[in-house]
């Protein structure tokens, strides 16, 4: 069952950057990718808990700001040779508003 929750206006996320969303105890990083696509993952690198929202976006990947692990935002998988994955959250944009599904 979907549980879409409004997060912010798309414009409130600068292009090719991210915002952090605090939902309960969980910190989520919401990224605005090329073509105004939005992806959301838990803001916590599987390596040493780096805040992913501060990293550099490379295509559909985020490079963790602490030690440059590369994480695919679509499925949360860490790129080889490292291993791990981060929780992802479905997103949608309707009328310029970003929604997350919990």
């Amino acid at each position: 069952m979907s549980n879409w929750i409004k997060v912010c206006q798309l414009d409130e996320i600068p292009p090719a950057q991210a915002r952090t969303v605090k939902a309960g105890d969980v910190m989520i990083a919401v990224f605005r990718l090329t073509g105004d696509r939005v992806k959301a993952v838990e803001n916590r690198c599987p390596h040493k808990h780096g805040p992913l929202a501060e990293g550099i976006i490379s295509g559909d990947d985020i490079l963790c700001p602490l030690h440059n692990w590369r994480i695919h935002l679509e499925d949360g998988q860490v790129a080889a040779p490292d291993k791990g994955c981060v929780k992802t959250y479905p997103t949608k944009i309707e009328n310029g508003v970003v929604f997350l599904d919990f």
Partner: protein
Amino acid sequence: MNDKKKLVMIGNGMAGVRAIEEILKANPDMFDITIFGAERYPNYNRIMLSPVLAGDTTVEDIILNEEQWYTDNHITLHLGKRIKEIQRGYKQVIAEDGTKAKYDNLIIATGSNPFIIPIPGHDKEGVMAFRDIDDCDAMVEAAKKYKKAAVIGGGLLGLEAAKGLLNLGMEATVIHDQATLMNMQLDSIAGDMLRADLEKQGMLFKTSTLTTEVLGEKRVTGLKFKDGSNLDCDLLIMAVGIRPNMALAKDCGLFCNRGIVVNDYMQTVTDSSIYTVGECAEHRGIAYGLVAPLFEQAKVLAHMITGQGLKAYEGSVVSTKLKISGVDVFSAGDFMGTPGVDMIELMDKVGGVYKKIILEDDKIKGLVMFGDTADGPTFFQWMQDGKDVSEQRSTMLFSASGLGDSGHSGIDLAAEMADDTVVCGCNGVTKKDVVDSIVKGGLTTRKEITACTKAAGSCGGCAGLVDQLLASTLGTAFVESEHDPICACTDLNHEQVKEQIKTKKLTLVREIMSVLGWKGEGCQVCRPAINYYIGMMWPEDSQDDRSSRIANEKMHANIQKDGTFSVIPRIYGGETTPDELMKIATVAKKYNVPTVKITGGQRIDLLGVKKEDLAPMWKDLGMNCGYAYGKALRTVKTCVGSNWCRFGTQDSTSLGIHLEKELDRIWFPAKVKLAVSGCPRNCAEATIKDVGIVGVEGGWEISTGGNGGVHVVATELLCIVHTTQEVEEITKAYLQHYRETGRHNERSAPWQKRVGLESIKAIVVDDLNNRKALVARLHLYVAQQDTDPWAERVADAEKGYQQFSEYKQIVIPIEVELS
């Protein structure tokens, strides 16, 4: 019920558990695994018992696999349970307490037992071996009560034990039956040098002596020797060798000779369902006593048992290193050589260095090194590769990596080692494995590298080499060679990209990537580089691309390991005032800054600041941004100079403050640090800075291209001038030239080395017109940088975070379940 095969292992030691790790790697789901270990501890790094004894590390630190690891891998672990019988007919093993386990495959990995010489009195209290944690504990306890220790056996283990006991405050005498210490690994010259070094550390020796009796009533009180002499002691360690632990195997009818005999696939020759690995195994007549070959065996075993086909173990050549701090010994292969053999030697008695290489047909057959062992692993690799060294033979003993890098040969060695050179002999880890883990894995500490590759995880002998690789890789991570592309996103190198930006007048990062045919959308290497080049070349027509800045530069603060930030305001020239200090203190208090630290750069670091507090703090501080996070001017270190100092010939403080103000807010290819000293005593350490300025009578010496970081480089003298105006002009011209021709992430030291000091001199010192032109271009750039980045962020914040809304968290008041 599941249909997994049952795998039982006897012995929870280094070789066995490595085999299990290899099996899990090859096929994690194939077996139900049960391990019996006689010791109370999970698998630990036995090798490191010597450093534990010597007080250099602790038992907790040498555990290799925590109990959690066994749980995570669904391994049933029986600690403290010794197997007393293998029933091959029932395919089961029985422990002393009656626990039974059935197997489809059995691995015997029982290691070896220390050999106790059966002389009269050997069973007295206070006589022991050095093999496990319990022995180690017992020695530490004994050292609290007793004072005089004797160690029988002048080999690797005996010497390490004696060193440990010395460190524990005991008097330690090593008794050796041969004249040469470590005679299995060293020739008499190296053995004597070793002895002299250890004597300096306080170790006592009695060599060429056989011990005939252990004296004492209940507890040992002394030893008696064949020559009739005696020695008092109240603790005796026997370190005379080991015997493969094969009793269980013998009792169940497996063929044993020196050890449990195995074929090339580590199966016992008697029963193919039973494998043996480690010191208890005898392969082609040899039972090994060092971990490197045992780990190779473990790999082969895993390959075979998981049915991946035939991969044979063909025996190993071993190398040895002694783990006593301050004493460097390396030995491998046939180090003695037959009479008349071809060999090269280097002997430096005063410097305490001795190297000998035995050659045959220009190939290395064996080597001994003492004092300087940095090249040991390289030579060992050459030996294993059968490399023809006729070209190197005249120079190789000075240093495999070439001459003339006094004090830093190690760093160059690491950098120049071939990719496939084995760095960690114990675990067969190559340079490439280590470098990949740093570059691709982003690892930054030896500990992480060990966890990821296992390098330096066993004897630790290569820890220094791993550190050097780390240093040389991190220090130059993105400093490409002449023609390498910037990164995997493009085929173009730095110069080609710069050229394109200039001729096509490209001013947007994304535009450049599409015009120049980038693969993908760029990464953390190329995008910041392009962003820098654009800003440097088109200061008036380009805008900084914040999405192409790494976290630190984007946030104008250093990101910390816990995701908080640090704030370092400018304190020009390191000179401050009571008011400024009070302001910093007030802000630190207001925002509960957990740590306030004086940095190595003469200013104050407020560490552990929350992201959302950054802008408010900057506002309250009202000080300029210190750029401690960026590829920008960091600090201009100064000394008190002629204002106060009785030796000062020049006012270094004022000049430093002036330069720091002039060069503020400028982006460079890499960070830039200056220092100004008031006299040649050089208290500001100017000679390891990017630009170092030293006051002399009637003028200033300007020297450049220094670096005090990973690879220390002293500056080279650029010129001597008379006035501060000239210092300012030449410094600016030098730095602008560096800005224009340096590659992103290339510090001035490697840059200066690359383009050459003479060419720099010609451009920035000798050619006056060019100097002025460079300074003019720098001024044009500076004119565009009219606001302080912190002030800009504060203003944005006050306008409602328009542009930098990401400082503000969005809070959604719900609970989210984490799966």
